[in-house]
């Protein structure tokens, strides 16, 4: 049987073989992301539930575990309503424009040593460029809906994303100076050594700025002024229903996972074991594969996302802008100078 399959495989032309393998890799990355997105929605409701001394969803399936499936099914079966005088083409294409960049970024994410779809040299820049594309889905959705609330939400999110991208970009400049490379695998490798070799320590202000700017980029609480249900109903996706709405939802959660895993890769040592360099413990945990570490750290940051949502009240809009422009950008610029001095003076153990 295996020989038969192998001989069929060998008959396929070589160019097609590469294409098929790449498509297979994409499926292997995308399907777990989609599943995680579904289950983060459940985790969010459960975590916030427990924080507020409730149980959260517990009716569908054992302990509510099938809730995301039920929600997904409901959204698929719902009617997609297109508002009067809405721009049909843009209205329909907007959710796709929001989701596609969120998924495309995953191409350069290394899950373990060598486990990466495209090991490109400018990986950091690629991630920054593509995540800046996500804003189009929001703006177009807000404009095409022909609704005041949706448009206000779109404008808010556009301004917010453009502002926070600058702070985010500067934080990435710091990482690339410390690592000496824009390749995400090389960035992880350069943090090798031990827990204190990871960049969270020398780049601590940038770590905080990056993660908080990531919260703002994904329009999550406390920066969810783009949705702001008490002010502008639900912002840019107020007119969307059914699967079109679900795509925005998927994009938001896929972006959350993406920001978390990027923070892990750039500041928390990626797939490196936290016990590296500690005698005894290092050998004890040597059997754990890298992907467990990277996913575990990512889950921790995702928990922070949910925790923040349950803890902090929403920022007022002008203060969101103030934080981005007047606090984060000066901090990042200052810290880039500090890193520059550190790199020139070769301060160990990070810059030597």
């Amino acid at each position: 049987m295996i020989e038969l399959l192998l001989s069929i495989w060998n008959l396929v032309p070589e160019a097609l073989q590469t294409l098929l393998i790449i498509i297979l890799k994409i499926v292997v990355i995308t399907v777990p992301i989609m599943l995680s997105v579904a289950y983060i929605t459940l985790a969010e409701r459960k975590v916030i539930g427990y924080i507020q001394v409730r149980i959260g969803p517990n009716r569908v399936g054992p302990r509510g575990l099938l809730q995301p499936i039920a929600d997904g099914l409901k959204l698929v079966l719902k009617e997609i309503i297109i508002p009067t005088n809405a721009n049909r083409f843009l209205f329909v294409i907007a959710p796709l424009l929001a989701l596609a960049p969120a998924l495309a970024c995953w191409a350069v994410i290394p899950f373990a040593d060598g486990w990466v779809l495209a090991d490109i040299d400018a990986g950091l820049l690629y991630v920054l460029a593509l995540s800046s594309m996500g804003v189009y889905g929001l703006i177009i959705a807000g404009w095409a809906s022909n609704s005041k609330y949706a448009f206000l939400g779109a404008i808010r999110s556009a301004a917010q994303m453009v502002s926070y991208e600058i702070a985010m970009g500067f934080a990435l400049v710091g990482v690339l100076m410390a690592a000496g490379s824009m390749n995400l695998s090389a960035i992880v490798e350069s943090q090798s050594g031990s827990f204190i070799h990871w960049f969270w320590l020398p780049l601590f202000p940038l770590f905080l700025v990056y993660f908080i700017a990531g919260l703002a980029e994904t329009n999550r609480a406390p920066f969810d002024v783009a949705e702001g249900e008490s002010e502008i109903v639900a912002g840019f996706h107020v007119e969307y229903s059914g699967m079109a709405f679900a795509l925005f939802f998927l994009a938001e959660y896929a972006n959350m996972i993406l920001i978390s895993i990027l923070t892990v890769i750039m500041f928390m040592g990626g797939w490196l074991s936290p016990f590296q360099g500690i005698p005894g413990l290092e050998d004890l945990f040597a059997f754990v594969p890298g992907i467990v570490w990277i996913l575990g750290k990512t889950c921790f940051l995702l928990l922070l996302f949910l925790w923040f949502r349950a803890t902090f009240p929403r920022y007022r809009y002008d203060q969101v802008m103030r934080l981005g422009w007047k606090v984060f950008i000066p901090i990042t610029i200052l810290w880039i100078l500090v890193i520059g001095v550190g790199v020139m003076a070769e301060i160990g153990p990070w810059f030597d």
């Binding site: 460029a129 800046s132 703006i139 779109a154 970009g169």
Partner: protein
């Protein structure tokens, strides 16, 4: 046939169509979005030229920031299409002449006698470990370091000038100083007064 020429023709077809759409479509939002598409396909073509740094920066700067602000403004304005089309016939000869002139100039400058394959030679195919980013960085910071720094200083000057020209103080609008708000202590706001209980009347 390898896949590269196919990709090139796909991208360049989209690029030409999108660029034409920028100036021909009626809806200004569609025009801006066509420009975004044109930038994006242009970046794809640059990627095929092994200029990945430039391609990604094009997407990051123009698509991710400049065009977002463009769209922002276009969507806010209520553009009167009928009025902007007034006098199209009247200005057509002058406009057509300028367009023709630019076209001829571009043909002369960018024609095969200056940029043909005989003049520039076959472009080098680099190995997989070739880093366009590194090459650009090395060139910019060694050979062209002064022009690069001067350009940077000019841009900074332009930013400062733009802010200085457009900034105006509005004494009537109210501002908050968050630093002061955060520094507030209880004693500044609340005063506890001890007084004797009043008699019932």
């Amino acid at each position: 046939m390898s896949i590269e020429p196919i990709l090139f023709y796909i991208f360049s077809t989209i690029l030409v169509i999108a660029s034409a759409a920028v100036v021909t479509v009626r809806n200004p939002v569609y025009a801006a979005l066509s420009l975004v598409l044109a930038f994006f396909t242009c970046a794809a073509i640059w990627l095929m030229l092994e200029a990945e740094f430039l391609a990604l920066v094009l997407v990051l700067v123009y698509v991710g920031a400049v065009m977002v602000l463009f769209l922002f403004v276009i969507m806010m304005l209520d553009i009167n299409l009928a009025r902007s089309k007034e006098g199209f016939i009247k200005y057509l000869p002058a406009g057509g002449f300028v367009a023709l002139l630019i076209f001829i100039e571009m043909c002369v400058v960018l024609g095969p006698e200056n940029f043909g394959i005989e003049v520039t030679g076959e472009p080098l195919k680099h190995a997989a470990d070739y880093s366009n980013t590194k090459e650009l960085g090395v060139t910019l910071y060694t050979q062209y370091v002064y022009p690069f720094e001067i350009a940077g200083a000019l841009l900074l000057l332009a930013i400062v000038a733009a802010i200085a020209l457009t900034m105006r103080r509005r004494p009537d609008s109210k501002y908050q100083d968050p630093a002061k708000q955060v520094a507030v202590r209880r004693d500044d706001r609340v005063r506890i007064v001890k007084m004797a209980t009043e008699k019932k009347q």
